[in-house]
Subunit: 343 residues, 2 copies
């Protein structure tokens, strides 16, 4: 018994000894269908659990109502916030989100994009992987462009493409964070930087550097160490910082995770925060408000980025032929909490 085979329009047509067209029209409330016919067919369809095969419709209409979201990871708060933002706007419009995680791998990114194109995804939201960024490859993207599939960059971007992009103003966020530390009176401000090469890392780094310069503060190479965005990766660098002959009196972490790692190490050393050492993170993740002391950070509007990116996509979709890519840069906002409020 093949009760598992989904019932089709043809099955219903056979049952009513009519043509598939009639069934189709009846189900879609077409006016030129006899009222009785319509009712009977609709009732029967419901009874047997008929469900339109969207695959065939996709083929016919060349519309799949599915969108690709290609991200390096989904295990950070920010990324999930972005996805939620996309969801909020696009799910109600009937779009389905195909989430592809690249794990920072170029190959996976390439395969994911190729798959999405094959599946005739109608748009792609992309935050390029670190490997892609490092290698500077972009061939796999040419492909997307050539297809005229709307491509929206999120946060991590290529300068070379004529595409829309939604990013957070990392530079000014970082600048504000460091400026705040300076205004409080911290003199030796270290930076736990993100991986080299990524826009996010570099912009925040630039904000840090330029702010120091603006206030004529010395830039000490030994106070700049790399981390990998997660808590663990902050432990060793922080230890090294605190063991310096002339240790920093404040640390600006590339994100909250890193700052929380630093907080932990500082506390283990018996340092008081913010008296002995000031701390600032980036992201304004939910936990940052509840660490002890609470963490000064820079709010990064992930949900909004997702919603804005959706808007950019919709603009491009509905735009007339001569489409002009838009760049949205959302401001980031300093959130001052206890970890930097030395009185």
């Amino acid at each position: 018994m093949n009760s598992s085979r989904p019932v089709t329009i043809k099955d219903i047509a056979r049952r009513f000894r009519c043509s598939p067209s009639t069934v189709s029209r009846a189900l879609n409330d077409h006016p030129a269908i006899n009222e009785d016919t319509r009712k009977n067919i609709q009732e029967y369809a419901k009874e047997v659990g008929y469900q339109r095969n969207e695959v065939s419709l996709s083929l016919l209409n060349k519309k799949t109502a599915s969108l690709g979201v290609v991200v390096p990871t989904i295990s950070n708060y920010y990324e999930t916030a972005v996805i939620e933002g996309l969801h909020t706007v696009l799910q109600p419009m009937g779009y389905t989100l195909n989430i592809c995680v690249t794990n920072e791998s170029y190959l996976l990114e390439k395969e994911s994009l190729s798959k999405l194109l094959s599946n005739r995804t109608e748009g792609i939201f992309l935050s390029v992987s670190q490997e892609t960024y490092d290698a500077g490859y972009y061939e796999h993207l040419e492909n997307v462009i050539q297809r005229k599939t709307p491509l929206i960059f999120i946060d991590r971007e290529y300068e070379d493409f004529e595409t829309s992009r939604a990013t957070v103003d990392d530079y000014h966020g970082a600048f504000a964070a460091v400026e705040h530390l300076i205004s409080i009176g911290y003199k030796q401000i270290a930076h736990l930087k993100g991986p080299n090469g990524l826009t996010v890392s570099e912009q925040r780094f630039k904000g840090y550097i330029n702010c120091l310069k603006k206030y004529n503060m010395p830039i000490r190479e030994d106070l700049i160490l790399n981390t990998n965005f997660n808590v663990e990766s902050a432990i060793l660098p922080t230890k090294r910082l605190l063991e310096l002959a002339s240790p920093p009196d404040a640390i600006f972490g590339v994100n909250d995770q890193v700052a929380i790692g630093a907080m932990r190490v500082a506390k283990d050393k018996g340092l008081r925060i913010p008296q002995d050492i000031g701390l600032v993170g980036f992201d304004n993740s939910p936990i940052s408000a509840y660490t002890f002391p609470s963490l000064t950070t820079v709010h990064r509007p992930g949900r909004k980025i997702g919603m804005e990116a959706s808007r950019l996509f919709l603009n491009q979709l509905n735009g007339s032929g001569d489409f002009a890519p838009e760049s949205i840069v959302l401001p980031s906002e300093l959130v001052i909490r206890e970890s930097s409020l030395r009185i």
Copy 2:
């Protein structure tokens, strides 16, 4: 210029004055194709960026290689870990994951499932929404079962269905957590419970209660308060606990977020952890190892759950007609850290 229309097999056929079948076979390295023809066609296809239309293939083969993942939220560590686990196993097999977020809403869950079925998804991983759970509706699930689309429950489950399910042993995890607190010498153990009705909440609650019973400790209703899984929701209940005439000397939080919220409130009150009050969470989220003090918690293997769920799906798919649903219960594991180690 319609350079945006994807190149089809027919286009290539026209170019080579041959039939679509020939092109198809050439592209698929069919043996019965002339070597030169094959090479020419493959070269040309590459040149013009031909990409197989998987939609048409889906229709033809009734295989979509796409799977649905329906979850209440993606903004917790655990959920994303599960998705990562699914990804790890299923992406390399060529499956695409359609992630649907229900926001704990029955209606969204119903619509998501219906959409997935319409799109002929080959399997569905479901963690039911709280509303669905509360209402006890299951009609939307009947539909999935009837279609014989493999349905795998994750964590939150219905007892009434003949489906596979992958869950964590919340009961014994909670039991072990409370037993640990007792063994340290804590006498008045409070519980910040999750929302009523959810398996996860109730199982942990049951573990808490039964452990207290086993050790003949009084069960105080005033030490059991509800939270909503997130940090904020723990603040007020914890305050209330600590203002009791006879306050608890330990708190078992339904998850790490809640425990971290409690930690914050306790510290604000000037309580020392673990000397004045012991704390235990649940999840073993990355941050829990780096709070100060670090948080004793129960490891919940999200990634593994995702991978096991994938296995259950594949079993059902490849299984012969008479499929027997499997239930996997992964053990949770107590991770003892500083927040409960009163000496």
